[in-house]
């Protein structure tokens, strides 16, 4: 059952992400990305990382993708994204090269056998309990730092996006947009 689920998720994720990077339509790209994220959470559940899977769903699919969706409102999603690709072969050479190399590295039996668990899960606890125990004891300081970082990022996002709120490009015609560009 698990191999079937893994291969199913793997194939679907790969396909969806390929759509994300190859599609000309922003809406398609974002939708397939969100779907891929959901499926990745499925992989986490298979791996027994329940809490991580839930966080993946809430943060990525819930929050991050929602922010992307808002950002996308600036663009005309019905129009294809125009991109100039001068050397397509180079892109696939680089991507393929790295993929092949990584696959070879991971497929080869070079993983250390002497790895010892630093924080093994507490016996008898469920995954969220075990995560909580480690996160709020051993990783308390990084956790707090991360929270401060998120706060800073939130404020930064609001300030940056809030600048020039009085200018609305969608309310302008082409000449006014051109004027704005010249002034810039």
């Amino acid at each position: 059952m698990i191999p079937f689920a893994f291969y199913l998720f793997a194939i679907l994720i790969t396909g969806l992400f390929l759509v994300t990077v190859m599609s000309k339509n922003v809406l398609y790209a974002m939708t397939s990305l969100a779907a891929g994220m959901v499926l990745i959470s499925g992989l986490f559940f298979i791996l027994g990382a329940d809490f991580l899977g839930v966080v993946q769903l809430i943060v990525y699919v819930g929050a991050v993708m929602a922010v992307y969706a808002f950002a996308m409102m600036f663009f005309d999603v019905t129009r294809d994204v125009e991109e100039r690709h001068d050397k397509p072969w180079l892109v696939f050479l680089l991507g393929g090269g790295i993929a092949v190399t990584l696959v070879v590295i991971f497929a080869a039996p070079i993983m250390g056998e002497t790895v010892h668990a630093l924080y093994p899960p507490v016996a008898g606890a469920t995954n969220p309990q075990a995560v909580g125990l480690v996160l709020f004891t051993k990783y308390l300081l990084p956790f707090e730092v991360a929270s401060v970082m998120l706060l800073v990022a939130m404020i930064a996002g609001i300030i940056l996006a809030g600048k020039k709120m009085e200018i609305s490009l969608s309310a302008m015609d082409e000449d006014m947009i051109a004027d704005t560009k010249e002034h810039a």
């Binding site: 790969t14 990077v21 922003v26 943060v59 993929a99 990584l102 696959v103 093994p120 991360a146 990022a153």
Partner: protein, 100 residues
């Protein structure tokens, strides 16, 4: 039997897909999507290692990566909007003011 290597290879492939996106995309929003793919590929690898070695450290790292990704999106999109307001475009072929 699904071994850790299966997950790692999947992670590598997804990372490569993300890399293709990073290199190929000229639209900054699409570029962000590609970076999200790469971050998630790393998360899969961490979760797999964590699971197969029975060590929660990998999951911790995955949490922090998610937190970093969220911050990056917030700041990055804020900058993106500012850029769009200023130049009316987010195609990186249009920004070559640093040409040497």
């Amino acid at each position: 039997m699904i071994t850790m290597n299966h997950y790692l290879i999947l992670s590598g492939i997804l990372f490569a897909i993300g890399l293709v996106g990073v290199v190929r995309r000229k639209n900054l929003l699409m570029l962000f999507f590609a970076t999200e793919i790469m971050l998630n590929a790393a998360n899969i690898a961490f979760a797999a290692v964590s699971s197969y070695y029975h060590d929660l450290t990998g999951q911790m790292f995955a949490f922090f990566i998610i937190a970093v990704a969220a911050s990056e999106v917030a700041v990055g999109l804020g900058l993106l909007i500012l850029l769009y307001k200023k130049y009316g475009t987010i195609n990186i072929d249009d920004f070559t003011i640093m040409k040497g």
